[in-house]
Amino acid sequence: MAAPPGLKSGYAKEMTHTIRKILIANRGEIAVRVARGCRDLGIRSVAVYSEADRIAFHVRMADDAICIGPAPSNQSYLVHDAIIQAAKISGADAIHPGYGFLSENAEFARRCQDEGLIFIGPKPETIALLGDKLAARETAVKAKLPLVQGSDTDTSDLKQAIAAARKIGFPILVKAAAGGGGKGMRVVHSEDQFEESIRSAASEAKSAFGDSRVYLEKYLARPRHVEIQILCDQHGTCLYLGERECSIQRRHQKVVEESPSPIMTPELRTRMGSAAVEIARRSGYVGAGTVEFLVDEQRDFFFLEVNTRLQVEHPVTEMVTGIDLVREQIAIAEGRKLTLRQEDIQLRGHAIECRIYAEDPDNNFMPSTGTLNAYVIPAGPGVRVDSGVVAGSEIPIYYDPMIAKLVVWGTNRAEAVTRMKRALEEYRVSGVETTIGFHRVIMDNEKFLAGELSTRFLDEEYPDNVYRRVSDVVRERAALAVAIDKYVRERKISVSPPQQATRSNWAAWHRHGNLRSFKGSR
């Protein structure tokens, strides 16, 4: 199906194009989430998969599925040609990139445009502008956003860098201009480590992004990470959908997120929201996006960066606003006007997300691969699980080890925490190590319960990196279970099914011939 010619050269104003089939250029839980969103809207979906993902859950959840190459992502999920070709073969008219992979790749977004495909995301120029952290900082300055004191220039030149560093004062953060995911980032505590840190950050940035430019930022001691969800249509309407607090991180990656932030006030939300909208306008933003900020102990906020895609943690915003972000992304991509207004955005209750990784928290979050022998997800009131796997799934070594997101809602934060504990207890996973037990420990942490968070939370609270807290009762039960298991295996005792002392009502009902009508219908 060919897109209207007007779409080739950017988004046509006042023109809508109904999307009928979306290719999802991703894998795992986000591909499943987008496929479900498509079904909710009556849109057909196309999964792409690598040879390692042939029977993966996202492949099963889509209407069509096309293999795009061998297991390593640089030979499959990152190959522009393979994905464009899959879209052509399947007759998709739009591509949803999810997060990671090609989601913030301006070149790929432009390629989609050139091929007459709708890229569900911002314009290529916006992605390019905000993807360059130095250019994004410049845009933020123009938008009069507060920024963490920094060099604001390429400081790959050492002499220039040292002068800039002295002006800012140590400790300092060295960051890659093309950066993300903690790559090419170094904390430098004193001048004697500076030269080595600049060199290693630049070399890591070069190998990760093909761009060695780095810049400097003042290192805040105990900041919170608070981000604003934005939603902008093609007609100049731009809204903020509240915040998410994502301070609990390991290796600069978020592990627990919540909305609202425990420190938020309506006044601060309005100021941060307006700042986010301002930078979105300045960069011609279209679609769903996230403006990240650091908030210090005085509740002063500083612009960090803009993520030009759907975030991993978007469900917490969906739960407190009642807005389906994927649905809005698709409507915006179709050229529709946002029907929501800022005053319609009301946050209700509290949502928390725990990221479930196939990792061993007690072993420095080492990835754990294998087969999920058992996999039962929690359910019930206020619980949402966005899972990329099912029982029997293999966890391959090639991709990110996040297998699911457990999200809960409560009328207030305390209720949400209690519900999260309940849901974590219901989760049954065997075959790989996971972060489920780690999250149970966090949900009992006094600082967490008090809402006293910072990006240093895990380092400060768990300096020995041990997250297992087991009560004596649980340990005793486990010992008993192991002993009985050994007895049952070795002596091969067979257990008859549970029997009631009296004749069951079901059997009596059967005897009275009440099942005859069912038999006839077989």
């Binding site: 080492m366 065997s430 149970r440 649980v474 010992a479 008993l480 298991d485 050994k486 007895y487 008859s496």
Partner: protein, 170 residues
């Protein structure tokens, strides 16, 4: 009557089991329990401890006494032995972790990036030994205890499978 010694988190449990009328009459460190066991397939089972219902999943990875238990959303490593065997082992002054601690095996499949130690190196608990890349991340494998590196079984650039031998300690 079967008697076992179970160790979890360095704590020991002396467990006596008697099975009659499809029930276990258990004593754990002197405390009595009546337990019914209902298999749920594979390694899972539902235990009725008195009136408490508890779903457990007990895995044995190695075939010897090493177990992993999943219950109530947590995972616990345990070791089980016949009580008499444990008594003899203790009389001989051997910790049952002894043999396992002499070798370091790959915790996951991946690519060996660098070796941080050489044979003869004395290492302290927590010393980085080997860096393995898996899932696009570099994972530093550290020493679990103090020791001396005896030999190294892998080279940088080599692919390893889970449980492949990485190095041996003296």
């Amino acid at each position: 009557m079967p008697r076992y010694n179970v160790e979890i988190d360095g704590r020991e449990y002396d467990i006596l089991l008697e099975y009659r009328s499809e029930r276990f009459f258990a004593t754990v460190n002197g405390t009595s329990f009546e337990v019914q066991h209902q298999p749920l397939g594979e390694s899972r089972a539902l235990l009725f401890i008195g009136h408490e219902s508890l779903e457990v999943d007990v895995h044995s990875a190695t075939g010897n006494g090493e177990r992993t238990i999943f219950m109530k959303g947590i995972e616990l490593p345990a070791t089980i032995e016949e009580y008499a065997v444990a008594q003899m082992r203790k009389a001989a002054g051997i910790s049952h972790h002894h043999a396992a601690d002499n070798v370091l095996k790959a915790p996951m499949p991946g690519l060996v990036i660098t070796l941080r130690v050489a044979p003869g190196d004395r290492v302290a608990k927590g010393t980085p030994l080997v860096v393995i890349e898996a899932m696009k991340m570099e994972n530093i494998i550290k020493a679990r205890a103090d020791g001396i590196v005896k030999s190294i079984a892998v080279k940088p650039g080599q692919s390893v499978e889970k449980s492949d031998l990485l190095l041996e300690f003296e």
